[in-house]
């Protein structure tokens, strides 16, 4: 059965929720700007001259990838909060496929993340990071793909959670380590072997690297900042997306019914 309508309705609901929640709208926009402005700015001022490339641009691309990934992932994880508020029941008792519900949720949270992407791009421009139209276009396309990966990652995390309280721990144990393993502010071109392994299994690494791949395309700094060719990042992201989504949805549905 064609379930595009329900998928769109679920996605729209998430977007409407963001627009009507002013405080949330402001905080979602403020956090990435803080990271770029304060961290990127201070790193650039203190270390920028030694590394041979702009730390501000480096941080901007890192935060761009991280924000889209994290916002979508955490938005999907909020399904657990919905469940406790009984709203998700309304979706889960409907006859549509569980995959449609999850996909609608991922799309909706991607819509929520994209205004952040626009704000980050605008802010980067204000603080002097310059990008060509092609690079910006590339970042927008890449941004969408990052959202999809973040959403699928959220489903996998969600399927292993049993309560809202556990969801509160997610940031500390699942997201924050990835900030460093994905190299949002810290160069990870060279890593000790144990950190290298951890970094390579962090989904956020590929999201951030793909964003950098798009931004640094054709620039000399690419050798220092980009880890893998974009096609490698894309292939790994696609594989992770499918695996996370299928396993996550199956586990989530099973856990919901076999309480």
């Amino acid at each position: 059965m064609n379930e595009l309508g329900p998928v769109m309705a679920i996605a729209q609901r998430d977007f409407m929720k963001l627009l009507r929640d002013r405080p949330r709208l402001i905080t979602t926009l403020a956090f990435p700007l803080l990271l770029i402005g304060v961290l990127g700015g201070s790193l650039q001022a203190n270390l920028g001259r030694n590394v041979g490339y702009s730390f501000l641009a480096f941080t901007f691309t890192g935060v761009f990838g991280q924000t889209l990934f994290q916002t979508t992932a955490q938005g999907v994880i909020s399904l657990i909060g919905d469940r406790e508020n009984d709203f998700s029941q309304e979706m889960f008792v409907s006859p549509i496929s569980r995959y449609s519900i999850i996909i609608g949720k991922i799309l909706g949270e991607s819509l929520v993340a994209l205004p952040q992407a626009a704000a980050i791009l605008a802010f980067a421009f204000i603080v002097g990071v310059r990008a060509s139209a092609i690079q910006i276009g590339g970042l927008v396309v890449v941004g969408l793909l990052i959202c999809l990966l973040g959403g699928a990652f959220g489903v996998l995390v969600l399927s292993n959670l049993s309560s809202q309280e556990m969801a509160g721990q997610i940031f500390t144990f699942v997201m924050l380590p990835q900030f460093f393993l994905a190299g949002i502010f810290n160069p990870i071109k060279v890593l000790p072997p144990y950190l290298d392994v951890l970094s390579r299994i962090s989904p956020m690494r590929y999201a951030v690297d793909l964003a950098r791949g798009a931004f640094y395309e054709g620039r000399p700094e690419a050798v220092h900042t980009v880890l893998d060719p974009p096609i490698v990042d894309l292939a790994i992201m696609a594989a992770m997306f499918v695996v996370f989504l299928v396993i996550g949805t199956a586990l989530f549905v099973r856990n919901e019914r076999n309480r």
Binding site: G5, M8, F87, F92
Partner: protein, 323 residues
């Protein structure tokens, strides 16, 4: 009772809900939350599922509406199995949860539209004005029925508890379910709101929808076609309210006289069984009040006929310490 049954069309007596030996034990549970229950609900019936907190009502309703898997046993809704044909079951039931499940960030109309699109009753459109004429018409009718013509376009927050409940019911009826499940729908409503909601549910039933609800307000179950009382996961009584009352609590007459010794002697000599509580309590098994009173010569100072209520029946089966 009479006005409730009026909604049941003649001949519509086929089973719509069939439960056989249903057992549910939660993963961390030490005992069965639902412990081998079996019952059927007929099409078009007003069915009340009654029991104290923790009796297994919500667990049962969750299994019947496919949000929870059973441990063992079989449940069919409109002929479809809740485990192997869950999607077909979901398309045929409407559910009102114990806690309000409206999205507070959306308007009433957006909540209704979300449901209608989710059940594919109408195609997706991003705005009310772009929705098909039939939908817009239906929403305006529903809003008029609830007397919220303008409020339906405002955020849910602005509506009263009772109106929200009704909006949930309206929403759940958008896809024309065969059975409407309500898990303690009147919880949190005041007396007026409750009465209002009941009147509305009766009109829903009159239009042919089977109404299945859980409650612990006994006076509500009194108006049902069938009542099923559950306690500690087991069914303790099942049937029309009149039968449950008849089986569980007998009708009796309480009398007294100034000359108690004379009355006692007379009752003994006539072979009428009684209990002194300290008034004389006489079970009416096989007696008729009028005959009994006519037969007594001792002048009586007190005569009370006691009609059992469902509440007494309920308390006698679950024990009053349970609530």
């Amino acid at each position: 009772m009479g006005e409730l049954s009026a909604g049941v069309a003649p001949g519509r007596t086929s089973a719509i809900v069939e439960v056989e030996d249903l057992v549910k034990r939660y993963r961390k549970g030490k005992t069965n939350a639902v412990d081998g229950i079996s019952f059927t609900v007929r099409r078009g019936e007003f069915f009340a599922f009654l029991g104290p907190n923790g009796a297994g009502k919500t667990t049962t309703i969750s299994i019947l509406t496919t949000t929870l898997g059973p441990t063992s046993g079989r449940v069919r809704i409109a002929g479809y199995d809740v485990v192997s044909q869950s999607s077909a079951v979901r398309a045929r039931v409407g559910i009102i949860f114990q806690n309000p499940s409206l999205d507070m960030n959306l308007t009433g109309e957006e909540n209704v539209r979300f449901h209608a699109v989710l059940y594919q009753v109408y195609p997706y459109r991003p705005r009310f004005s772009l929705m098909p004429e039939a939908y817009r018409h239906q929403v305006r009718d529903l809003a008029a029925l609830l007397d919220i013509e303008t409020d339906i376009f405002r955020p849910i927050k602005t509506l009263s508890g009772g109106t929200r409940r009704k909006l949930e019911i309206i929403r759940s009826l958008m896809h024309r379910p065969d059975v409407l499940f309500l898990d303690e729908p009147t919880r949190g409503l005041d007396t007026n709101g409750r009465r209002n909601l009941w009147a509305y549910l009766r009109t829903v039933q009159a239009e042919g929808t089977t109404v299945f609800l859980t409650t612990h307000y006994l006076e509500e179950a009194e108006g049902a076609d069938s009542v099923c009382i559950i306690n500690k996961g087991r069914i303790v009584s099942f049937g029309p309210p009149s039968r449950i009352k008849g089986e569980l609590v007998s009708e009796h007459v309480v009398i007294d006289a100034d000359d108690r010794d004379r009355l006692r002697a007379e009752l003994v000599s006539r072979g009428v069984p009684f209990a002194e509580t300290p008034l004389f309590r006489i079970k009416l098994d096989g007696f008729n009040t009028h005959q009994l009173l006519k037969a007594i010569d001792t002048p009586l100072s007190v005569v009370t006929v006691h009609q059992p209520t469902l509440e007494e029946a309920y308390l006698s089966v679950i024990g009053s310490g349970n609530e």
